[in-house]
């Protein structure tokens, strides 16, 4: 959905119309939920944070500036809420690092359909690797490659300098490359052992 799809409801919501608020929720909930899942790597947590995002949206409405793109503004609230949730989890010692085992198969003897399926699997595994990144790096990756934000937009959303965004992004990509290289190396080693 584009921002102009929300505008009529948005104005009514700002004027205090409860039905418009519910409509905005319906129009945006899946989009917000996806972002939360990618940030938190846990569907249950994302579901819990979802309601907090909208309660926060309601509280923050007075600070919304009409020249701001609404979707980006809402994303900012979701990112901050996810970050706050992470901090809470950490405090409660409920944060368990989820390290997934990744395997990348060799390229020999594959049919096109099978190749496509494997490529899909590889991409899925790539997201699993993203989940292994420290949260600060991961939120930059999610905003850059899922939301396709520019570095400047990420800086604005996270309230950090563009230089910090650049270095976090560089560091994240470096780690991913390193992990993929290691996995490939281990896989090759396993083939030789066989």
């Amino acid at each position: 959905m584009q921002d102009h799809d929300y505008q009529p409801w948005l104005e009514r919501m700002i004027q205090g119309d409860s039905d418009a608020f519910r409509r905005i929720y319906e129009l945006t909930k899946d989009d917000v939920y996806r972002l939360l899942v990618f940030l938190l790597n846990d569907r249950e947590d994302a579901g819990d944070v979802l309601s907090e995002v909208y309660l926060n949206l309601h509280r923050s409405l007075p600070s919304y500036r009409p020249e701001q793109p609404f979707r980006k503004w809402l994303n900012g609230i979701a990112v901050r809420q996810a970050s706050s949730w992470k901090r809470k989890l950490w405090r409660r010692m409920r944060l368990f690092e989820r390290v997934s085992v990744t395997t990348i198969e060799g390229p020999q003897g594959r049919l096109p359909a099978e190749e496509r399926a494997i490529a899909r699997e590889e991409r899925r595994e790539l997201l699993t690797l993203v989940d292994r990144l420290p949260y600060k790096l991961k939120e930059v990756v999610v905003l850059r490659h899922y939301r396709e934000y520019s570095l400047e937009e990420i800086a604005e959303t996270l309230g950090i300098p563009v230089g910090t965004v650049k270095s976090r992004h560089h560091s994240a990509i470096g780690k991913l490359r390193q992990w993929i290289g290691q996995d490939t190396f281990l896989e090759e080693a396993a083939f030789h052992a066989d």
Binding site: L10, G47, P62
Partner: protein, 332 residues
């Protein structure tokens, strides 16, 4: 580079499979319902704590949903006035005449002190795209009590407005006409439900004119207007609008806007509107500035619908008010 491209595709593929699970959806909706139902009980507390949005006068409304051409803002994070220039207002002088007559018709049926919201086909035609977007807009009409004694009025204002600034009437050769407890023209509209009803009466039931009296326990944005005539007999309105809350006034206008700096360094907004609904001249020139006091923010506006009143004259009146205030105010 391949990693980055792969990530984009991976996210797209993963996102396509994700939707809010029923349980989480139900939980979020319940939380939203609880919050929305609890809101009226907490409204007075919220009003004091949070920034409010209000619809400024003179064909003013919240601006979302329309193409913004440019945006002028004065003020700070506690009180700001934002005017958005927009070409969606379909102003024509004939329609404006009719709307003024309609407002006068309603006004004549109001007892002193009463106020009402008004809607009609003509009012709708001023903003043809408005209702189709499901938005609220109505005109405001009132019959305020008019204070005729300048001394009494000044004393009253001094009690109501912190660090009140009034023009130097002698220096600017101004003669007091009257004072009233509201903005110079129009008024802020907060009653969304009433507006919805009036819109429905006109657009669904085919009424030519729909209006409804409104009552407000307290004015969210108390405003006081002092009317003067200058040496040439031209009217000049000097308004103060108060807010003890964080507030953002947003208006939509076709006026030419210009930000200027007054002699004490503060920003002021000069506005020249030749499509002004509320004056027979269809014109209104005004100068607004904000005075942020400890207990309240005060929006000052001096304006005139007469084309004989120049921008320089408005600035001179504003400067004289500021210098009067400086005399009264103890040095910091």
């Amino acid at each position: 580079m391949r990693i980055e491209e792969n990530m984009k595709v991976a996210y797209r593929e993963a996102a396509a499979k994700l939707a809010v699970p029923t349980l989480a959806d139900r939980k979020a909706k319940a939380a939203i319902d609880r919050m929305l139902e609890a809101r009226p009980r907490r409204s007075s507390i919220l009003r004091r704590r949070s920034t409010q949005w209000a619809i400024a006068g003179s064909l003013a409304l919240l601006i979302m949903g329309f193409t913004t051409q440019y945006f002028v803002k004065i003020g700070d994070d506690r009180f700001s006035l934002e005017m958005t220039v927009n070409d969606q207002i379909r102003f024509d002088e004939r329609t404006a005449d009719i709307v003024r007559d309609q407002l006068q018709t309603v006004r004549s049926q109001l007892a002193v002190g009463e106020k009402a919201l008004v809607y009609s086909q003509e009012i709708e035609s001023l903003l043809p795209d408005y209702r189709s977007k499901g938005l609220f807009y109505a005109e405001y009409a009132s019959n305020p009590y008019l204070f005729k004694d300048y001394g009494e009025w000044k004393e009253r204002l001094a009690r109501l407005v912190p660090e009140l600034a009034l023009p130097d009437a002698e220096k600017n050769r101004l003669v007091f006409v009257d004072g009233k407890d509201e903005a110079a023209y129009g008024g802020s509209v907060f009653e969304a439900e009433t507006v919805k009803r009036l819109q429905a009466e006109v657009t669904e039931q085919g009424k030519a004119l729909a209006w409804e009296k409104i009552e407000r326990e307290e004015e969210r944005l108390p405003a006081y207007t002092t009317s003067y005539r200058d040496a040439g007999g031209h009217e000049l309105a000097f308004s103060v609008q108060l807010s003890g809350e964080k507030i953002k006034l947003v208006g939509l206008t076709q006026a030419q806007q210009e930000k200027i700096r007054l002699s004490d360094g503060r920003e002021a907004l000069y506005s020249l509107n030749d499509k002004f609904l509320y004056a027979d001249s269809n014109r209104y020139a005004s100068l607004s500035w904000i005075d942020t006091q400890e207990e309240a923010s005060v929006l000052y506006t001096v304006g005139s619908s007469s084309d004989a009143v120049t921008k320089e004259q408005l600035i001179a009146v504003a400067e004289s008010a500021l210098s009067q205030q400086a005399i009264v105010k103890p040095a910091a």
